[in-house]
């Protein structure tokens, strides 16, 4: 069953058009990846889905309902939650308080403080410290944990690997498997192509704000991806 349907989505930053008629579908329980070069519109796309960029109403359909242009908090109520690029941890809040802000809307589901601490024990050990005292990898865990606290049906994850060591990235992707096991649908934006091909069931490649390639990872060759990334 289709959970998220995006239909000919265009989005603008002021006069600048960032997305040109993106169409994409994500089934319930599926993990879908969006890859592409810097400036291809990947982050804008996720922010548009999360309600941070204005889009037409019918361009985004979630669980059969048009939700484009809904305010971000209304989308969180429906279960669309973004783990933003650059982690965006609240510096005035402790680790635990950052997680609790994720639970602000009070959506019910499997994720609680205890569950998140079991997934990321280091967060539990450092729960009283300011969130920004953590290392980059730990902050990324906190950002993911904060997103999970909202009990998402669709978790949008923007560039987990940004600025992190390969081992840390590997660990973070393993935890995403645990998130998947809860039945959460994942839409992951990533620059690290090989990493994402291993976890995603389907891949979309963006170039200059449009979809340049769409397939299952097994059918994709390096040459195809390179062409979709950089243009032939």
């Amino acid at each position: 069953m289709t959970l998220l349907g995006v239909h000919a989505l265009s989005a603008f930053y002021g006069d600048f058009q960032a997305l040109f008629g993106i169409s994409l579908e994500v089934a319930e329980g599926e993990t879908v990846a969006v890859i592409g070069a810097n400036g291809a519109g990947k982050s804008t796309f996720l922010r548009a889905l999360a309600g941070a960029v204005p889009v037409p109403r019918d361009a985004v359909v979630f669980d059969g309902r048009p939700v484009g242009g809904h305010p971000a908090h209304a989308l969180v109520d429906l279960g669309i939650v973004l783990v933003p690029e650059g982690r965006k941890i609240f510096p005035s809040l402790s680790v635990e308080e950052n997680l609790l802000v994720g639970a602000y809307r009070g959506r019910r589901g499997p994720w609680t403080l205890d569950r998140v601490y079991r997934l990321f024990p280091v967060l539990g050990e450092r729960r009283t410290q300011p969130g920004t005292n953590l290392s980059g990898g730990e902050q990324q865990m906190l950002a993911i944990g904060r997103g999970l606290m909202a009990n998402p049906r669709l978790l949008l994850v923007d560039e987990i690997s940004l600025g992190l060591a390969p081992l840390v990235v590997q660990h973070l992707y393993r935890t995403l498997e645990a998130v998947k096991a809860e039945g959460t649908t994942l839409l992951v934006v990533e620059q690290d192509v090989s990493r994402v091909l291993a976890v995603a069931q389907r891949v979309y490649c963006f170039r200059k704000g449009s979809v340049s390639l769409h397939d299952v990872p097994a059918r994709l060759t390096r040459e195809q991806i390179a062409a979709a990334y950089f243009g032939a």
Binding site: A50, G51, A52, P71, A72, H73, V76, D77, V81, L82, P84, K88, F90, P91, S92, L93, E97, L100, V101, G102, Y104, R105, R146, A150
Partner: protein, 291 residues
Amino acid sequence: MAWLDTIVQGILLGGLYALFATGLSLIFGVMRLVNLAHGDFSILAAFIAVVAVQVLDLNPLLALILVVPVMAVLGYGLQRLVLNRLLGRGILPAVLVTFGLSIVIQNGLLETFSADSRRLNPGGIETASLPLGGGLAVGWFPLLTFAVAVLLLVGLQLLIGRTALGRAFRAASDDGGTAALMGIDNGRLYGLAMALSLAIVAVAGIFLGIRTTFTFSSGPDRLLFAFEAVIIGGLGSLWGTLVGGVILGVAQTTGARLSPGWGVLAGHLVFLAVLLLRPAGLFSKPRRLDS
């Protein structure tokens, strides 16, 4: 002894200044909005209390029960209907609009209540005093004002430090965009912050009206003292605001003791000295709202 008395009076006056300053500081902390009508709202609250006292034959201290919610609702509505539209475009639009509001409130009060000065009469407490021995005495009313200021600051500190709403205030203060992505409805949150701000300044306005006479144009002076208290204490620090208010109060009573005309001037000079020596204020903790 007379000097000790002067300093005690100054400290207690500082409590009142802290009441004026807290709401201003809260609003700036949560949404980076400078409310130039803050002082006028306190005077508006005092005039509403005048009406409540006349019509319902209430003690002005009891009128708080009525005036505080009225001002809170006014603050919520004002924020949602007007001020929220100005956010995210820099500091200037809100400065201009609240400056305009200040003029509107003053002229509205002038039209409605004339230019006569008023005073709220709580029936004796404002002149009663507590002898401390050695010829020293403190007024019950300044003592009550100071106690209410401290209690409100403690309450606000608990609200900001321990509750979900307080966490949301701090998160929005750090990064409103990300707070919205986490499900915080910023428009509503800012409305609640303004409601809280005007509720506190309503208390300040009524205490001011019992302490001294006021007119339709008393607001801007209050705003100035509130700004000074906030800047002396350091932006974003609640207890700093109280200390800032106390320093300003002591400076004013000390100056006035030297020469009756020097009170306000001495306050300004201390403010300028702090601005020169510690521009960030005495207790500023950047990016923290709760300490």
